[in-house]
């Protein structure tokens, strides 16, 4: 039973590598999570245990895949950012998306008992779909992240008012929806304050801002090791952008790369609920999106 007669079927596989020098976002979304919310009686507008579980899962994914520089999550979605020079799986889109999505799913399912000790999972089990998107510039990647955080804000403000109207205001869903139609942010803040004495800005940051997960290098290190680090990773260069492509390959000796990989694996994984739309977060942690030699060059 020789196999060679059938091997031609391999030629139907297509190349799906993300072009070099593009930031790669793998975004995962919970499948059928509105049903899942009901099934396990998630609190409204936010279920703290569910958010904590999402973040715990994301933390492990970031820890295990060292090419991820940062992740951002809100609600039932998470975006994982691979550095523009990442070479994992030769940047093949399907491999990247399925690896992140299955790692996240495994963590979510197996950590579930820690966060929902009294509710056992039953079928359909929680799963996540995923996809890759390529962003050619650092600034556009920042806009992508801003888009997700603005989305978090808009949805959370809406949901906060909606559920106050329903749970405390004794409206039914339709009435609450009607009451909110056409309102601006200021109107919503006003409703919250005047009717429920809720100051939106005092709501938990994790609800308003979502969650950022990243490999943190503490102060002293930041200046020194990190820049050495990135230098090690991206090599000395000469030909400016050549780096964008070949660094993975030529960037330092094998033992240097291995050393670097180990250092990343040991790095502290920071989990924060802060603004990432403005420049503050990024200016304080330039190494997160750093290119060559540890500084942002674009």
């Amino acid at each position: 039973m020789a196999n060679s007669g059938f091997e031609y079927v391999r030629h139907f596989e297509h190349h799906d590598a993300i072009p070099p020098s593009n930031w790669i976002v793998v975004r995962i979304d919970g499948r059928g999570f509105s049903k899942l919310c009901k099934k396990y009686s998630f609190s409204k507008p936010n279920d703290q245990r569910a958010l904590d579980l999402m973040n715990a899962a994301a933390t492990e994914v970031v820890r295990s895949l060292v090419d991820i520089v940062l992740a951002y999550g809100q609600s039932d979605e998470y975006s994982f950012i691979f550095h523009e020079s990442a070479t994992m799986f030769e940047r093949r889109a399907a491999k990247l998306a399925t690896t992140v999505a299955t790692a996240f799913t495994a963590e979510y399912c197996l950590q579930w008992p820690t966060f929902f000790p009294e509710q056992q999972l039953s079928r359909p089990f929680p799963t996540f779909d995923g996809r890759c998107v390529a962003y050619p510039k650092r600034k556009i990647l920042r806009d992508y992240l801003a888009w997700r955080q603005a989305d978090c804000h808009i949805n959370n403000l809406y949901n906060t008012v909606f559920w106050n109207l329903v749970l405390k205001g004794e409206m039914d869903g339709k009435a609450a929806e009607e009451a909110l139609k056409g309102t601006l942010a200021a109107d919503k803040n006003e409703i919250l304050w005047s009717r429920f004495e809720v100051n939106y800005n005092n709501e938990p940051a994790i609800w308003r801002k979502g969650t950022v997960v990243y490999r943190a290098y503490d102060a002293e290190e930041g200046g020194t090791r990190q820049s050495g680090d990135v230098e090690g990773q991206r090599s000395s260069g000469g030909k400016g952008l050549g780096g964008g492509v070949s660094e993975g390959a030529k960037g330092g000796s094998k033992s240097q790369l291995e050393k670097e990989r180990k250092r990343k694996q040991k790095a502290r994984i920071a989990v924060e609920h802060v603004d990432i739309i403005g420049d503050g977060f990024w200016e304080a942690r330039p190494y997160v999106l750093a290119g060559k030699r540890g500084h942002v060059e674009e």
Copy 2:
């Protein structure tokens, strides 16, 4: 904080729909399973519990995704076949691959305690990468499946001899490898028989053939319901191939489709260890790859 200024980032997503009228294979492979085998001391050359777990996971995936017509698995891989007229997720490759891969991963992780009651999972948890491949003709799809089953046979025969040499023949791995270099199938069968009194053909079929999982329609139904079924699903037609594309949309009334979906969900999921290279399996179950009106037309 209006979001509209950032929404332009959506234009970077690319369309990845698999072209219509192509069979879709989603193949998943265990990530780092050779390490996993060692960590949990899988038996060699085959660990029955591990294979049973793979099959149990695949069975649930087939059950839950009704557009899958058949799945074939061996070792740490599984291929799921979506009908050429499937319209799930608008045939988007990333969605299909991540949905199958995460559903499989969730099943594998959560069913693990059933099959390995004495070994608790620890990180890195089992995960699977996946990818989509499109096959334009039924015959080429058959060749794809034949390729995987021939691969199962070749690897299993090799592994069976190798581990007999090591475990019973007291060779070390290198010596066994050396002994097998250049041998043909007949030679391997001869070694098995003459040295270990093992008749390869008496080895368990699940090891030699792998596992086929499909939605089975029993005899009486086969002739009647199935053809009605497929008719319902694919509509009356006229314009032959038009079907390949638009059936999902025009294929029968909504209630018919819903009825059909429910019938599929209730169908018995068959799990068998049989030859799928020859025509026998397919001729006995023509409905598996049936197109319009329940018969194979291509």
Copy 3:
């Protein structure tokens, strides 16, 4: 000035090969041809010289690219069909589309003086854009060709009535448009007959049916040489569909292939204005879309 530092830029090129075992259609369309019609005062509703030039150009393209099995043209468009087993340019989409489009453009521009001896070309010169589409089944390819020919019919019937109303009926364009709004084919035929004594079916076939261009093998040969031919081209086989992929490579000795290529180059190029929606055309010329061994197998 070593070049190696820059070569990394090649990694940005992407693989665009059309998957094996798909029929490839390269369709070209005249760019800005409505302006061109006015500029050179093309007759309405059809300019015979312009159609003849299109067909003369297509004939040379078919003659020069032996992997093309048939072309169909109407108005300012032409579709060139490459056999599903064609291996030209490793089936790369960009190469195929630009080669066909530039060959057609060169022919159109350089043959122009033959068909328009009194009108010299001036800028902007006639050009054609093009694109590749893959069709996985012979029947779908047939439907594609039927789509183009039905389009020819629909447009030509409309234009014939419209220009009769304008040129003989002394309507202006708007009035003619208004008069045609909502009319069916039968209505249009009736207008033509009752007002202008024009029997649409007596209009030239080239206007009503468009033009088919193909490599013709005459009667006696058809049965013998052609089947030998295709056999030569597609090899003896065994593994049915293996052919779909590897034939180009393994299909016969080099000298056989070369001989075959020469025979194709010498074949008569037929140019006909006939129905290709029904089965008649194809049944009389089975070799046109023949697969292995000269017969249609799908």
Copy 4:
């Protein structure tokens, strides 16, 4: 003969838009130009008429497609650069490649008599294949252009020595090839000088550097109009990078865009044989690759 039954075939077309905010290179190459060189007895190592014809054709292509910011050519190839914010044909790769390739082919064929008045074109006519490549950063685009110009230099130096050895040194091709094996640039310069009294640096710049074609804005204008220009084209913006995507759509009123387009059409097309590897060329003409507001921002 309704057409709706066939229209499903349109769903097989795939989306091939180049992602936003990437520079687009359409590179064309002469098909079978080594045969063409012999057929029309082109001079060696360079045929001035042939180069002049290439440049004349490229000039008209740049003039007619206002989204092209620069083109670079050497030998029988030409690269046309579309601005990263270009929206022509919705950035569809096939449309861009075939439009450029056919426009170039038409120019080449129809201008041929001007440059080769005594040699009439015969079949196979000159044609060019083409393809699109996307470059995510301005610097990588610069490296692409450097790659082509370094290639020009390397080939031309080799060819200059080779043909001196053959034409003046009375070697045959094989001997000349052998003599050059393993030589460095300095060796080649030395051979040229010591044996043929040829100073390579005095060879015509068009041979050594190839040809750059671009829309030139003269000194005074450069500062003012151009910045206004780019502003007009790319709009006022707000969201920095949003521009990369949506400018085409929102970038200024229609009449502004139209005005801008006309100004571009009237601009002088510069044709130069200068170094584009170093920074000099680009620093003196910042508007060529300028982004928003006329300055390079990346």
